[in-house]
Symmetry: C2
Subunit: 255 residues, 2 copies
């Protein structure tokens, strides 16, 4: 039986972390809201799931994964569920817990990235909070992003196992895992949203860059990225490019 992913059909968003895992594993799945309404898919199916009052354990929001009778919401929880089933994490509880911990930290970065363009509220338009967004992005790029990247860099460098593909850095053991895919996506998104400042920040994270490059070359991932299944970045998802939020970095000043 195919996995069913319920997510907004026009954006990468949080659903993309799930799509990447399914694609990298070659798992059969239906991206429901992008399907044909005549086949019971499309947006009516997504809305039907989110508004189903007979669901005893309702999802708060999408992405939602449906696997036969299992209905799971929350990106990190979906990936925790899929990880061992897609062989995108080892069998040990210790490895699975670490993978999950990394994923939850990626989720924190994603929240903070969203906050750079919607600091006041997701319920208001960007244009209604643009001045605040400029300040929020500045603080994110100056304080938070370097701290997060330094942590990912340390996690990659301290991993005693080496990757199988040309000794590529890996977050969990020596093989590709779903947090690797999510960190790839985070780098993709940061480079789209902040082309000037992401480059500066990533200059200090060579292992993160090497991980990103190796994931992009994984066969199934490369096929996916080149396919129409990969939705292009746009200014309705998490990672949005507003030039005002990505000012040219200043050269380091000499004190």
């Amino acid at each position: 039986m195919n996995y069913q992913l319920h997510y907004w059909p026009h954006i990468q968003g949080r659903g993309e972390f799930v799509r990447l895992a399914l694609e990298a594993a070659g798992a059969p799945y239906v991206d429901v809201a992008r399907g044909d309404e005549a086949a019971g898919q499309g947006m009516p199916a997504l809305h039907g799931l989110l508004q189903d009052k007979t669901q005893a354990r309702p999802p708060f929001a999408c992405p939602v994964l449906v696997d036969d009778k299992r209905v799971i919401a929350q990106t990190a929880a979906i990936l925790y569920y899929l990880g061992p089933r897609l062989k995108l994490v080892g069998r040990s509880e210790v490895d699975q817990a670490w993978a999950h911990q990394v994923q939850l930290t990626i989720a924190d970065v994603v929240n903070e990235v969203h906050n750079t363009h919607h600091p006041i509220s997701a319920a208001l338009h960007f244009e209604d909070q643009q001045a605040e967004a400029v300040r929020a992005a500045q603080a994110f790029l100056a304080h938070r992003l370097p701290k997060y990247l330094a942590w990912f860099e340390a996690a990659l460098r301290r991993n005693p196992a080496r990757g199988g593909d040309g000794n590529a850095p890996r977050l969990v053991g020596g093989r590709l895992s779903y947090p690797d895919l999510s960190l790839f996506q985070l780098v993709e998104g940061l480079r789209y949203a902040f082309p000037l400042n992401a480059g500066k920040a990533l200059a200090k994270a060579p292992a993160v860059r090497a991980l990103h490059a190796s994931v992009a070359q994984q066969k199934r991932v490369a096929t996916y990225l080149a396919s129409p299944r990969r939705i292009a970045f746009n200014n309705e998802g998490i990672f949005r490019h507003y030039p005002a939020l990505d000012p040219a970095p200043q050269s380091p000043t000499v004190e």
Copy 2:
């Protein structure tokens, strides 16, 4: 062997969700940073853990739970680990996944509450973003809080199992689980931060209020709340009371 909880010693913060689980279960634990430096505890122990460069899988931030050789960060991941060990969730994978999904949604609310007083950046003082905070709090109280509370209310009402303690509402099956404790804490925090507006929002969530009341009466929880181990709310944690962020609710207007 005792559990070791590493968290800031002067605030409830995210660590409080872990403290409540440990306390409600009567589990032996050490709140490390509140301990005696002479005994290897206190803030030096917390900083030592966070800055330990020999840790192959370093925590990004606290709370961190240490259980013998296991080191686990991220509040929801800690509770996922502790849940079955403390008998604060059933044995089935389905129940554990649902409990985790609820917990992750509570974490989302917590992030949004923090954003009400620090919309621009956690790296700046409240006073440097007060005007923005007023707008952010207004949007949270108008749009997000009612949506979240309606979801918790639905999850409680649709649960086919009934609670053992006077038929109190429960989130996962019929017995007290760690998400119940966390939802209790969320209500506590909302009432502290937004005494005027939380009351208005909770008026529409009677099952959430009943859950909160029943958790407060659980014997070990009640003992904990009355003890010096329960740190009082203050304006350095997640839930902060700034009157400017909690204006008197307007009466519903007749269109």
